[in-house]
């Protein structure tokens, strides 16, 4: 098993997904299966090959510096789970 329980825990924390003790083996097996599938990647020789991040050969289009958006706070906050005085609320952040 290339993926350890620790790996699952570490990655789950990075991804902010709560995984219970009981779920770990199931995710471990799932990730293992996928890593096994993608292991073929290592067989190809790719020296000197430029990585491809975009499927097109274009450069970034730039927009003019103009204010085009109105205040739509009320509309946007209709779907927010917790707001007060126009602010989104979260449990206290300790700095």
């Amino acid at each position: 098993m290339p993926i350890s329980e620790n790996d699952v825990t570490r990655v789950a924390r990075l991804a902010r997904l709560r995984v219970t003790e009981a779920e770990i083996p199931q995710y471990q097996a799932g990730l293992d299966g996928i890593l096994d599938l993608v292991a073929q990647l290592h067989e190809s020789v790719t020296d000197d090959i430029e990585p491809m991040a975009h499927p097109q050969d274009i450069s970034l289009r730039l927009r003019e510096d103009q204010v085009t958006e109105d205040d739509e706070r009320d509309l946007f906050q209709e779907c927010a789970p917790a707001v007060e005085s126009g602010l989104y609320l979260v449990p206290r952040v300790i700095e």
């Binding site: 990655v11 996928i34 990647l41």
Partner: protein
């Protein structure tokens, strides 16, 4: 039998005022209710649709109509709509109504379409069978114990069952073409950048592309023409106009070189599938197309490459679902960490979580070069293979999937076997090319078989044109599953 008519025929009847949009809309709403067992829809907007239809009728009466005025359609529930909730097939967004319309939604509305509802899909478009939806699986109208394919399974099932004349879908690794193949439809994945991604909830941003699921190539041309084109809100949108419907359909097959990659015709493919594809090729050859052998030597690397890049992008794209500004928020949120971890653990289904985890893993420190960077290099190799093949041919042809629709539940225990369904489709997304699946036969169990056409970048014309020429000769695209005619 209004539901059996093509978009073109419906348009003619509407414009001649032989049928009203309200009548048509009611007819389809009735069918959706009657065949709700298929579970093809997540939301139906009867009130909004009828209001839209009335409005369309007024415009039709005044002869102010556009190309699609009064024609009911459905959107995959991945496109944001102001009027209807947009769930992406997830508990996370089960209560989410977007404050804006996606560009695709806006364009089709401007063309006169009446939106009837939102179709079921694999959660966040991650799946090939529509079994990962929070709203339950969708049944294939050809055989209700079979899957319709995915992730645009609700769109495919509803068009195939004639619950709607046409629907939108999205394709990240085959999510339009594979369900089109499984349901006997014509499904187009346009070139990356042709159809705006604005308002289409992102799965893997460098691979995602919206497109139509229709019964014929002709309908596909009409929908693609209305959906596509430059959008300044999408930085990856291409600044070129979409060809007209006539340009898309008008193709002379004589001299067109169809490339057959040896890798797509191997023993892993069902014999029935190969047989139907070969028969279809003979028909095209008879009409003047030339068959040439080509090779895509690295296509086997497509699956591993795709299952690194797509989850990597998804892991980042799905970070915004954190229970703060929209979407599911856990009741158990005493600390910030709890809010994040519990909201996400509760809101996402298992397959989505699996992909977020694998995507996070391949981008994390120590693994980036070995997985993500390596996959990006292979992506280049795969893309170059296509370029080389297109030196010898104009369109690449092969089966869309190795087999016809599998049974519901057959592959849910083994995610990897599910992933292998994309083997012929996902290299196309990696290269950003246009591709179309069209029905070319039925297997022994009476299930549809799809053939895939792949074109050069921005050359949807050759694909839709070839499919249209084929459909002028054959009637596979007119076949309707028995109980739905």
């Amino acid at each position: 039998m209004l539901h059996l008519l093509s978009l073109k025929a419906l348009r003619e009847r509407l414009q001649k005022r032989e049928v009203s949009s309200v009548e048509l809309t009611k007819h389809f709403i009735d069918r959706i209710a009657r065949f709700s067992d298929l579970n093809a829809f997540i939301s139906v907007d009867e009130e909004g649709a009828l209001a839209g239809a009335e409005n369309a009728d007024k415009r039709l009466n005044k002869k102010e109509s556009g190309n699609l005025t009064g024609i009911p359609i459905a959107h995959k529930d991945i496109f944001c709509t102001k009027r209807l909730r947009t769930t992406c097939g997830s508990k996370m967004l089960s209560g989410f109504t977007a404050p804006y319309d996606a560009t695709v939604v806006e364009r089709l509305a401007n063309a006169g379409c009446v939106t009837i509802g939102k179709t079921n899909m694999d959660e966040f478009a991650m799946g090939s069978s529509n079994e990962t939806s929070f709203f339950g699986n969708v049944k294939n109208p050809w055989h209700t114990s079979r899957v319709p394919g995915g992730s645009s399974g609700g769109s495919a099932a509803s068009v195939a069952a004639r619950l709607i004349p046409a629907a939108t879908g999205t394709d990240t690794g085959g999510s339009i073409r594979q369900p089109a193949a499984f349901c006997g439809l014509t499904g187009l994945k346009p070139s990356y950048g042709r159809v705006s991604r604005y308002g289409m909830i992102a799965f893997a941003s460098s691979l995602d592309q919206g497109g139509p699921l229709t019964r014929s190539a002709e309908d596909s041309a009409i929908m693609f023409n209305a959906m596509g084109g430059f959008d300044p809100k999408d930085s990856t949108s291409i600044e070129r106009p979409v060809p007209s419907v006539n340009e898309l359909l008008d193709l002379d097959l004589r001299g067109l070189r169809l490339g057959l990659p040896t890798e797509f015709f191997d023993s892993s493919v069902d014999t029935a599938v190969l047989g139907s594809v070969r028969e279809a090729l003979q028909i095209l050859e008879k009409r003047g197309a030339q068959l040439v052998d080509v090779s895509l030597p690295n296509s086997a690397a497509g699956i591993p490459c795709y299952y690194v890049i797509a989850p990597a992008e998804a892991s980042s794209n799905l970070s915004r679902f954190d229970g703060v500004r929209f979407g599911h928020r856990s009741e158990q949120a005493d600390s910030l960490l709890d809010l994040y971890e519990c909201s996400r653990a509760e809101g996402f289904g298992e397959e989505v979580k699996r992909r977020i985890l694998i995507g996070t893993y391949v981008l994390s420190a120590g693994y980036y070069d070995a997985y993500y960077l390596k996959a990006q290099k292979i992506r280049r190799v795969i893309s170059d293979d296509f370029k080389k093949a297109f030196e010898k041919c104009d369109v690449i042809v092969g089966p869309t999937t190795p087999s016809t629709a599998f049974k519901i539940g057959e592959k849910t225990q083994d995610p990897v076997s599910m992933y292998l369904n994309d083997i012929f489709t996902n290299t196309v997304n990696l290269a950003g090319l246009p591709s179309l699946s069209l029905p070319v036969g039925l297997d022994g169990a009476g299930l549809p078989i799809g053939m895939q056409l792949i074109g050069r970048f921005m050359d949807e014309t050759s694909l839709i044109g070839t499919a249209h020429q084929f459909q002028l000769e054959t009637d596979w695209h007119e076949r309707c599953p028995e109980d739905f005619s």
